[in-house]
């Protein structure tokens, strides 16, 4: 069993509402601020991408479902800031934050704050997840593989994993080897990058769903080697 974010295949959500191509990028100003604050805080170097994804997933199911997209980002960010000790709860709960004392800029991490001039470079550099690794690739394109029977982390109870529930215990075929990549299950919990081979694996829709729409439809997922066994 996984968490509330793992919703692939779920019934009952109703229709998708497409946006016009020229819809504003951020529906309101604070959406843009939320994205920017999240990226800027990431530059402080106190957590990685997998940790920030897991933080949003760890919101209680009730909060996850009632929060809007950027509300989830803000809730996840506030939790990360407190858990890593960048801020304390008193900082966040001060009722009149704007009036709070001392605009001192003396936080120990202040020297790491992203300057405006650094923004283009930081965004252009990105954060690749491919690594050199001596973990041997066990599978090759065309080979049949079966995913783990459950979409659960085997490192941490209730921990982060990227095997969706709908693809657990399913048999597919390796489409391509994507190289070795940081393992989110480990990296999200500060257990090291543990890079290992990553594969694009293709599954027949009929392997995943009770009533596939078309006999030749397929779903492809990127899956780490430790999620897979020979089938």
């Amino acid at each position: 069993m996984s968490r509330v974010h793992d919703m692939g295949g779920r019934f009952g959500d109703g229709p998708v509402t497409p946006d016009a191509e020229d819809e504003p990028i951020f529906a309101t100003d604070w959406h843009g601020r939320a994205l920017a604050v999240t990226l800027a805080c990431g530059a402080l170097g106190q957590w990685n991408l997998d940790m920030s994804r897991h933080e949003r997933e760890r919101l209680s199911p009730k909060d996850y479902m009632r929060f809007s997209y950027y509300e989830k980002w803000m809730a996840g960010l506030a939790d990360l800031l407190v858990e890593t000790g960048v801020l304390d709860v008193a900082d966040l709960s001060s009722a009149d934050a704007a009036g709070a004392a001392q605009a001192d800029g003396s936080h120990p991490l202040a020297s790491r704050a992203m300057a405006a001039a650094a923004v283009p470079g930081v965004l252009a550099r990105g954060g690749p997840s491919a690594r050199d690794s001596d973990v041997v690739a066990h599978f090759e394109p065309g080979q049949a593989v079966r995913t783990r029977p459950r979409s659960e982390s085997d490192l941490v109870a209730g921990g982060h994993t990227r095997l969706p529930n709908y693809a657990a215990g399913a048999v597919g075929r390796v489409l391509r080897l994507q190289g070795a990549h940081v393992l989110p299950d480990s990296n999200a919990h500060g257990l090291g990058e543990a890079a290992e081979p990553l594969y694009a694996v293709v599954f027949a829709a009929s392997e995943l769903w009770q009533a596939p729409e078309h006999p030749r439809d397929e779903v492809v997922l990127d899956l780490w080697q430790s999620y897979l066994e020979p089938a």
Binding site: D6, M7, G8, R10, D13, G14, P15, V16, T17, P18, D19, E21, I25, A27, G32, R33, L35, L39, A40, L44, R53, E57, M74, L77, D91, S94, A97, A98, A100, Q102, D104, G105, S106, H107, L109, M114, A116, V119, P120, L123, A124, R125, G126, S129, A130, R162, P164, Y166, Q178, G179, P184, L198, E213, H214, D217, V219, V220, L221, D222, L223
Partner: protein
């Protein structure tokens, strides 16, 4: 939101000018026009298309479209036999350097939940109806690989220049929830 920003700024942890620069980047500099340029070139230049199939990351990097959330790119081509469509069921992974920040529908529960199980029904909600001969392949972005759909080149676009071709390429056609615009 404003309160959190204020606290962080007061402690010197964020620079409000950096936030403005990030917002400006994604509002004005990085968006689906980048992806459209890649598609137009793939339609026009068989050598480029072949190289894109081999190593899309290197080819888009050469065009200046590398960066955050686009570190590992794969291009997938639509054909009469196969239509590709991209989703992230677990969160909202999307190729930022080529398409910008994802639209609301891409991040919606309905799209995340349904695109993998009933892609044709979802496509119908976008006004796209595929023929029976066309199989659908849905890519669930579960890792850091990011997928760019190369839509089919519209009939009647032979001889058009790169700029005009790029005008035919919509954001949705590069996610696979749309087709390229018809030539008018």
């Amino acid at each position: 939101m404003k309160a959190l920003e204020t606290i962080l700024a007061r402690k010197g942890l964020i620079d409000p000018a950096a936030l403005d620069a990030i917002i400006d980047t994604y509002e004005n500099k990085i968006g689906p026009r980048n992806g459209a340029e890649v598609v137009a070139r793939a339609w026009s230049d068989p050598g480029f298309l072949a190289a894109l199939r081999e190593d899309a990351t290197a080819m888009v990097r050469e065009m200046g479209f590398y960066g955050r959330q686009g570190e590992h790119m794969v291009a997938v081509e639509n054909t009469p036999e196969r239509h590709n469509m991209v989703v992230c069921t677990l969160c909202s992974c999307y190729p930022w350097p080529l398409l910008g920040i994802p639209p609301a529908w891409y991040k919606s529960d309905a799209y995340r939940a349904r695109a993998v199980r009933e892609p044709r029904q979802v496509l119908a909600e976008f006004g796209v109806h595929l023929p029976k001969e066309t199989a659908v392949r849905v890519w669930d972005s579960t890792a850091e690989m990011r997928y760019l759909v190369i839509p089919m080149r519209p009939a009647g676009s032979e001889g058009m220049g790169l700029e005009a071709l790029a005008d035919l390429v919509t954001r949705d056609s590069m996610v696979g929830t749309g087709l390229a615009r018809a030539v008018t």
